[in-house]
Symmetry: C2
Subunit: 147 residues, 2 copies
């Protein structure tokens, strides 16, 4: 299909994330494409009236979260036969970081889970939506069920 050469799976570790991962893998096989994986640890600031308007996560907590994310990505990547230098864990705004990594690695298809338009997804804007708006390549939004 469509001759994609380098597919990027934007992994989010939600309950239905394996469904998205499987689709990305199937696509990579069908296209004989390179498959890469990225997970973005959302850089949500913690606000505390005592110390000022915005305080980022403290260093230790950040490092623990990153370490946990790296382990989960590594486990998932192993299942999908993705080598280590095609795995990225970054901190920041998911939509911008995913698009940046796609641009830097000549990705031609981003595969991302798509949540329904309600609850937090509606309030914050979903990652799929943000990626769609900003990407310079094709985006496959895989619908998550029971969501």
């Amino acid at each position: 299909m469509a001759h994609y050469k380098h597919i990027l799976l934007a992994a989010d570790f939600s309950d239905h994330g394996h469904h998205v991962a499987n689709k990305a893998k199937e696509l990579a096989v069908a296209n004989q494409a390179q498959l890469s994986i990225v997970h973005i640890v959302d850089n949500l600031p913690i606000t505390d009236a005592t110390y000022g308007p915005i305080i980022p996560f403290d260093g230790d907590l950040s490092e623990q979260i990153m370490e946990a994310a790296r382990k989960r990505i590594s486990t998932l990547a192993e299942k999908l036969d993705i080598v280590e230098d095609k795995q990225w864990v970054e901190v920041g705004s998911p939509k911008f970081e995913i698009v940046r990594i796609a641009d830097e690695n000549e990705i031609d298809l981003i595969v991302v889970g798509s949540h329904g338009r309600h609850g937090l997804a509606l309030l914050l804007g979903s990652t799929a939506n943000g990626v769609l708006h900003n990407a310079h390549c094709d985006v496959l939004a895989v619908r998550l069920k029971n969501d």
Copy 2:
């Protein structure tokens, strides 16, 4: 790839629409899937201060627009080997009509062109974005270049 069975091409007749159409066709072939096509004539009301807040297109004009859309869909469908009963031209809000037709026809992948986040697309919200928010199936947003 991903075993899609019924793919819906949301055709918009933009300059780069053939690029989206070709991807939809390639996907259908690769998946041995049924390919269907829909075009929505956007139901933009015309406002006129003399007659009141909102006046829809008059009947003749609507019919001319629909007839022109049907001809373009028919020409495109022929190129893509889509039979007549898998072609739809409807009037309404693209995002809702595309999703309605997808639901009614057990579509499992909608293929839609994706414009950049600027100009009118930013102001009005793009069709791709609206479809992504509302669809109950996967959505492939094909990036339109030079846009």
